[in-house]
């Protein structure tokens, strides 16, 4: 489902070369819930950006849902992001001046869906996160946890195969974090592959599998708790 072979990412300036990721070899199967941990600056976000086709890389191959994304055009990468990937960010990244309905609508608009289909998907997504009654509210009228749930609704509205979550609970208190985590687990239980970057060891342990990144190098740790959940491999 997601396969990286010897992928490296180097940031270059006139004076310095920074190896953000070195020879990453990774295989994530369909339906997995994978947590990614590591210290600050270790390359977690870079890994997530590469996985989400938000950045290009110099070396190696990256197969997403069977397609090698290396060398694809900018337009094609946009299509892949739109159709196959849902993004959840630590800071929610909702558009503050748009109602919840329109926020969730953004990725669907770029897919060229009909008005009717978009409406159905948006309402369903907001229902899933428990905010269907507030679709005309602005993000600023919601709590942090609710905003993150809207972001999750936006991520799942297009029925992507992957959810990439970058510290989705980082800005939330423990109760809210718990609710968001349960929501992600629920989504995963319905077959969506989730890769979640987190600093929280407790949350990381709830994933099927944990990947640690240290100095741009990935070590893949099979989790004991994951033993019975590998469904769709």
């Amino acid at each position: 489902m997601l396969k990286m072979n010897n992928v490296s990412k180097i940031y270059r300036t006139d004076l310095v070369e920074t190896h953000a990721l070195r020879n990453v070899n990774l295989h994530i199967k369909s339906g997995e819930f994978v947590s990614v941990t590591g210290p600050s600056g270790s390359g977690k976000t870079t890994f997530l950006n590469l996985a989400g086709a938000l950045e290009t890389f110099e070396e190696g191959d990256y197969f997403l849902d069977g397609q090698n994304v290396k060398g694809l055009s900018d337009d094609r990468l946009s299509e892949i992001r739109n159709e196959k990937i849902g993004f959840i960010f630590q800071s929610f990244n909702l558009l503050p001046d748009l109602p919840l309905f329109d926020n969730v609508d953004v990725p669907l608009r770029y897919r060229g869906m009909s008005t009717k289909e978009r409406k159905e998907r948006i309402e369903h997504a907001l229902e899933t996160v428990g905010l269907a009654s507030r679709m005309k509210h602005l993000p600023t009228q919601l709590s942090g946890g609710q905003q993150q749930r809207v972001a999750i609704a936006r991520a799942i509205a297009g029925s992507p195969k992957f959810l990439l979550a970058d510290e989705p609970t980082g800005n939330l208190d423990s109760l809210m974090a718990q609710q968001v985590m349960e929501l992600l687990e629920d989504i995963n239980s319905k077959g969506t592959t989730i890769i979640m970057v987190t600093h929280d060891d407790q949350l990381a342990r709830r994933a099927h599998r944990n990947i640690q990144i240290f100095d741009g190098q990935v070590s893949d740790i099979e989790k004991a708790v994951a033993k019975d959940v590998m469904r769709s491999a």
Binding site: L54, S78, E79, D97, P107, Y110, D166
Partner: protein, 452 residues
């Protein structure tokens, strides 16, 4: 997708209304000034008689001595001698009309004693003046060749003079006196809009003459001649006297002072030139026309190309307005750039969620086109008032000797100029906004997503 991009563009314009208004106002002021000047230049440079301007020719024959200095352009050259004028008029030229003119002056009276005598100028011309140059008639007509040949004292007056002397009524049949001569009015012109008074070669923005008198009457009665006499072959010393006396000597002299025009159909131009050449050859055998290049037959279009190109005041004014518009555009683009750069996080997010680069470009092009359109719209309003102001200044600087209705065509925003203003506003705003749009659409999708 267009509808969605349009919605986003309109929303963006509404989000910061004061900034949007400032951008539009900046463009409008620059475009308004630019359009004001361009309209003045365009209207002032309009070639009269556009439907046949390529067929209306100024005819010049260079009868100067062989030692005379070369001139930079034929527009600098002399007019025509009276004897050549009459010889050309006598030529048999099928389909060709010819006329000529000079100016006279005098004290004009009417029978109504309540009207003060006025010092005035008048155009002296031939009957085809009216058929060639097509001034509009309010009452009556011009004179025909029979009247012309009879030497009868007739006159055509302008609407302005008809209003002033006869209270605007139909004055055909009334008499006026110029000096001691009585002339019967046979025609009253309506307002005659000429962007430039071309027929006397002044190309000035002054209004056309108020009186037109047949040349036969003027010569027979020795009306004074208001002309520059370019005399060769020994008449230079008495040339000034030709204004009021020595008519016989002037008629037979080599002094050029008559402005000669011909209306020549396309298929007759070559033939006309040939006949002119034959005439010169004939005259050469009589010892005249010593120079090599002797005739210039220049149509109105070519004359206006030359005149407009040498309108230094308007050219400089035009350059200043263009530079001012450019400065305004740069300021507007600065505002647009700042506004767009505040949007990098949103663009980054939209790109991450699947927006293609070209979609982002389209969204912002729509926004810029709307700004350009509104700038164009407001610019036209600014230009309207700018032209109104310039017209008032022109009225003031003429000491109110000119009428508003004479000036209005020179300061009129017509369909062409309005269209130009819109296109200029939109295209210039779009072109100068390429950089802000390029900067924005090249925002990497991942660059702004991590920050708070």
């Amino acid at each position: 997708m267009f509808n969605y991009n349009l919605q986003l563009a309109l929303k963006s314009l509404r989000d910061k209304p004061s900034l949007t208004f400032l951008t539009i106002l900046t463009i409008a002021i620059g475009l308004g000034f630019y359009t004001t000047v361009k309209t003045m230049s365009y209207q002032g440079g309009q070639v009269p008689l556009a439907h046949k301007s390529k067929n209306i020719f100024l005819v010049q024959m260079d009868n100067r001595e062989i030692t005379a200095e070369e001139v930079a352009h034929q527009s600098r050259l002399v007019d025509t001698t009276y004897k050549d004028t009459l010889n050309l008029m006598a030529m048999d030229l099928p389909g060709v009309k010819q006329t000529f003119n000079w100016s006279t002056y005098g004290i004009l009276n009417v029978e109504d004693e309540n009207i003060n005598p006025l010092r005035t100028f008048a155009a002296v011309t031939s009957s085809d003046f009216f058929t060639m140059f097509e001034p509009p008639f309010l009452f009556g007509n011009g004179w025909d060749k029979a009247i012309e040949n009879s030497g009868e004292g007739v006159i055509v007056i302008s609407k302005l003079m008809n209003d002033k002397l006869f209270g605007g009524k139909n004055s055909v049949g009334e008499n006026v006196r110029i000096g001691t001569h009585t002339l019967k009015i046979i025609g009253v012109l309506d307002t005659w809009h000429l962007a430039r008074k071309f027929y006397d070669r002044s190309f000035s923005t002054a209004r056309p003459d108020n009186f037109f008198i047949p040349y036969t009457f003027a010569m027979e009665n020795e009306l004074p001649r208001r002309a520059g006499f370019d005399c060769w072959a020994g008449n230079a010393d008495i040339s000034r006297s030709f204004r009021t006396e020595n008519t016989e000597r002037l008629i037979n002299s080599e002094c050029s002072w008559v402005t000669f025009w011909a209306e020549i159909p396309d298929d007759q131009v070559e033939s006309y030139n040939q006949q002119l050449h034959n005439y010169i050859e004939e005259q050469k055998s009589l010892g005249r026309f010593p120079r090599e290049i002797l005739t210039y037959v220049t149509n109105l279009n070519d004359q206006f190309t030359y005149i407009n190109g040498r309108n230094d005041f308007m050219n400089v004014f035009s350059l200043i307005s263009t530079l001012f518009f450019a400065v305004c555009l740069l300021n507007a683009v600065g505002i647009i750039l700042a506004k767009f750069m505040r949007r990098t996080k949103e663009v980054s997010l939209r790109r991450a969620l699947g927006a293609k680069k070209k979609t982002i470009i389209a969204q912002h092009i729509i926004e810029v086109v709307i700004i350009g359109f509104l700038g164009g719209l407001l610019g036209i309003v600014v230009a309207h008032f700018g032209l109104l102001g310039m017209m008032k200044i022109a009225l003031y600087s003429s000491d109110y000797t000119r009428q508003l209705e004479d000036l209005q065509p020179l300061y009129a925003l017509d369909f062409t100029m309005i269209t130009n203003a819109f296109i200029t506003g939109i295209v210039c705003t779009l072109v100068t906004s390429i950089y802000p749009i390029w900067r924005l659409c090249n925002t990497p999708p991942a660059s702004q997503l991590k920050s708070q």
